[in-house]
């Protein structure tokens, strides 16, 4: 199978208070089309830094990042980030304008009607058709994240990078959005990297689960999640995987 994303020997350090802090240590991974990789790791281990490097928001110190076999060095719409913050929408644009604007930028070869069809399709997919003309301030946090997801999907990236997008949501909204994301993933053939520190979420969503160690972060384990859908947290296989991930996560017990 052709690899959508290849990361080889990625190293990254930050300078902080005149000290070099080595964050990512020789990370290598590759993903194929329709992979859903969830990334776990202790707080501050560089999970976000990893996908920020893939997005090219951060300069890397060593290693290569390839998308579809091509080296990437600048941010671009082939790797779209969905941030954790709710302020990732343009507050001066309506929900509809937020989705259609980047489409107009990136799909100039399509007709206006085609672009509008794409935007409606994804707006419907995230169940926000009735809020087309609302401004971001009129939306709840969960709705803002849905718009951000719809906007990213509408542009048609090869890889969707999600940095704890449901981290700031309440448990109920979070589980609704998890289900919606699974539906979307089933309907499209997008590759997703999803950062979380919720073990259950990582098992529910990912077909590959990666655990990073403390800094300098290296890949501790990378498991294939073969639990069939619908995944239920009560099933023994789910619980076994949960325990396995929990023990590798190196969480201090009380």
């Amino acid at each position: 199978m052709r690899k959508v994303l290849e990361v080889e020997g990625l190293n990254k350090s930050f300078r902080m208070n005149k000290k070099n802090i080595h964050v990512l240590n020789n990370i290598s991974l590759s993903l194929i089309k329709r992979d859903f990789l969830t990334v776990l790791g202790p707080s501050g281990c560089g999970k976000s830094t990893l996908i920020r490097c893939i997005c090219c928001f951060e300069k890397i110190d060593g290693g290569v990042i390839k998308v579809d076999g091509m080296l990437v060095t600048r941010p671009g719409p082939d790797r779209l980030m969905v941030f954790q913050e709710f302020n990732q929408l343009f507050h001066w644009k309506t929900v509809w304008e937020n989705i259609i604007y980047p489409l107009n930028l990136n799909h100039r070869n399509k007709t206006k009607k085609e672009r509008e069809e794409i935007a409606s399709k994804f707006l419907e997919m995230v169940n926000l058709k009735d809020f087309k003309n609302a401004y971001p301030r009129q939306l709840s946090g969960g709705m803002c994240q849905r718009v951000a997801i719809a906007r990213a999907l509408a542009i048609g990236p090869k890889i969707l990078l999600m940095d704890e997008p449901f981290g700031a949501l309440d448990a109920q909204t979070r589980s609704i959005l998890q289900k919606e994301l699974m539906d979307i993933w089933n309907k499209t053939d997008i590759t997703i990297i999803f950062i979380t520190h919720n073990i259950q979420e990582s098992i529910l969503l990912g077909n590959k689960i990666m655990v990073l160690s403390r800094i300098p972060a290296a890949i501790k384990v990378l498991v294939d999640n073969t639990i069939p859908f619908p995944r239920m947290p009560e099933t023994p296989e789910f619980m076994d995987l949960w325990k396995e991930l929990y023990s590798t996560l190196d969480v201090k017990r009380f």
Partner: protein, 277 residues
């Protein structure tokens, strides 16, 4: 599976409540102005004041009406507005260029910081003698004074606005494939707009004051003069009701710009987006 946000559903009701509140506030404001006018009239007619130096408001009203009919005051008003629009226009363009340079080049920013701290507190009028020596008497000098009153407040506010832009918004812009220029125009300026607008409001009142002041020092430039010159001229001929009429027009323009133009812009942008500075 939809969360219903009460704020969204009740939006029209909230707006309605606001408008009736606004209406009450408007009546209070009008009532105050009418009250002041009545007191003025009474003092001018029955108080121990010279009606030449302190004419009743009715006399001023008639003078104003006469001046409007003959078109004299309108001519001066239009000239003043013409100058201020040119000044503000050039001022905004210059501010835009300077602010962009400020954001891009660090050494330039350091220099400009010093220039701002020198120029920002300096009244444009204080520079008038020097400006007159360089460009001479005339519209050019007035426009320069206006530009000086516009650039600094707008710039100080714009820089504060640009600095407050969330990094997420800039990264998002780069991510969806915006060019640097588009990023500035379509992401950074809208994000900084509440700050920029606050700067524009200060710039307007400062430049309006500077304009009238400069016109009074200058007199007419060529054949036409602005409102400042009109007041100066009327005082010279001791036509005091006309002087007050000129003042009324200046106040009226100030109120119209503040309460109508600025409020409308605010309603269509900052209030609609739900952002505050």
């Amino acid at each position: 599976m939809k969360e219903i946000n009460p704020d969204y559903k009740n939006h029209s009701k909230i707006r309605l409540a606001l408008s009736s509140k606004n209406l009450r506030e408007l009546w209070i404001k009008i009532g105050f102005i009418v009250g002041v006018m009545i007191i003025w009239e009474v003092i001018a007619r029955f108080g121990r004041v010279s009606s030449t130096l302190f004419p009743p408001i009715s006399t001023i009203g008639i003078a104003l009406w006469d001046n409007i009919i003959t078109g004299e005051i309108l001519e001066h008003l239009l000239y003043s507005l013409y100058l201020i629009f040119i000044g503000i226009g050039i001022g905004i363009v210059l501010t835009f260029i300077l602010t962009v340079l400020y954001m891009i080049y660090k050494p330039f920013a350091n220099i400009l910081d010093i220039v701002i701290s020198i120029m920002h507190p300096l009244p444009g009028i204080a520079l008038l003698p020097i400006i007159m020596l360089i460009v001479g008497l005339g519209a050019k000098a007035i426009v320069i004074v206006i530009i000086q009153s516009v650039i600094w407040p707008v710039m100080v506010n714009s820089i504060a606005g640009f600095r407050s832009i969330p990094i997420t918004q800039v990264e998002l812009g780069r991510n969806i494939g915006m060019s640097e220029l588009r990023l500035v125009c379509s992401v950074m300026i809208p994000n900084a707009f509440p700050h920029i607008f606050a700067g524009l409001k200060i710039a307007w009142s400062r430049s309006w004051r500077a304009l009238i002041g400069a016109e009074m020092i200058f007199g007419a430039t060529g054949l036409v003069g602005g409102l400042g010159w009109y007041i100066y001229k009327k005082r010279y001929f001791l036509e005091i009701p006309d002087v007050f009429a000129g003042l009324l027009v200046i106040v009226a323009i100030g109120i119209i710009v503040e309460e109508v133009v600025m409020k409308q812009i605010e309603k269509r942008t900052i209030v609609k987006w739900g952002v505050t500075v």
